[in-house]
Amino acid sequence: MLRQAAGHMRGLLARRASVAVTSSAVRMASQGHEVSETVDMSRPMYYDRADVPLPDKPYKDLLTDADKSLKQKEKGPWTQLSKEEKIALYRLMFCQTYPEMKQKTSEWKTVLGGIFFFLGFTGLVVWWQRIYVYPPLPKTFEGDSQAMQLKRMLDMRVNPVQGFAAKWDYEKGQWK
């Protein structure tokens, strides 16, 4: 186990820092001023991303003998490759095709369903509370009491500029 770990460490230390691809002259021209050197110390990773077409390394690292012979054939003229071989070569380099990457999932249905479920559950809880927890409403909420309060608010000219009494026609005795 220690030997394996040592091998790993050597591998890590031996990994060279990969310098940025663009030269400083190109960077100067594109940005208009000097840009500092970027040094990428990350390990090469494979990823399927629509906006970064070429990952750091191919998908399949460990090639079988059949794969290796196919790779050899790839070094020759490509017109001699059959359709299946071309597809096999693609699948060696990449995991998914663009259409596969961009495929729509049904995740939104799960999310929306979850939202509605919890909304409904909350509704049930509120309903139960209204029946078993809340005390009765004060008598000022009854229809007659509300009507008398409204009449008093109009008599008192509550918010007469724009708000409440402003919307009541005092001559006709009705809302405007």
Binding site: Q31, S145, G163
Partner: protein
Amino acid sequence: MAHPSQLGFQDAASPVMEELLHFHDHALMIVFLISTLVLYIIVAMVTTKLTNKFILDSQEIEIIWTLLPAIILILIALPSLRILYLMDEINDPHLTIKAMGHQWYWSYEYTDYEDLGFDSYMVPTQDLTPGQFRLLETDHRMVIPVESPIRVLVSAEDVLHSWAVPSLGVKMDAVPGRLNQTAFITSRPGVFYGQCSEICGANHSFMPIVVEAVPLEHFENWSFIMLQDA
């Protein structure tokens, strides 16, 4: 007082509150403009299929989105400071009233000419007559003459309270051992409601403030009657 389904401020009953309403309209318009712009940018960012991973900087837009917010802030600050100084103008009040906060009622003292003082308790819900407003009515109202500058000295006898009447644009903390001064003029006669605005214990929600602005002779009659009753 507030009317059913009200969304905005109550109609102003004092000139300062009118100014505050207009300032709020101004600031809210700016806020709506900025929010609409940001919402548009968010939607545009989320719905585009284009990508660009190589932007490092851009001096022009940085200048714009530094200068433009600074200008907007100045446009908000100038009216705001104007109202601030307006509120502090020398006003030469006709009447000075002391509003003292207690747990859980207000007491008002009119000591300019005679010694008039009374407590103002909320009318309990079960004692309301039909037509009265729940949690807002009091047994005694603070009666003032309309269109006269009034000075209110606010303090507290026990814990922190706050004397607030939204339609007059007035809110002043009642701090025990401290006298805070506020002033207002009522532009129209009427009854103006407010509620205690600083948490002060169990019945903090049940110590409202009612200011009644009446013509001067009615005020004189009222104070005469109150003095006799005391």
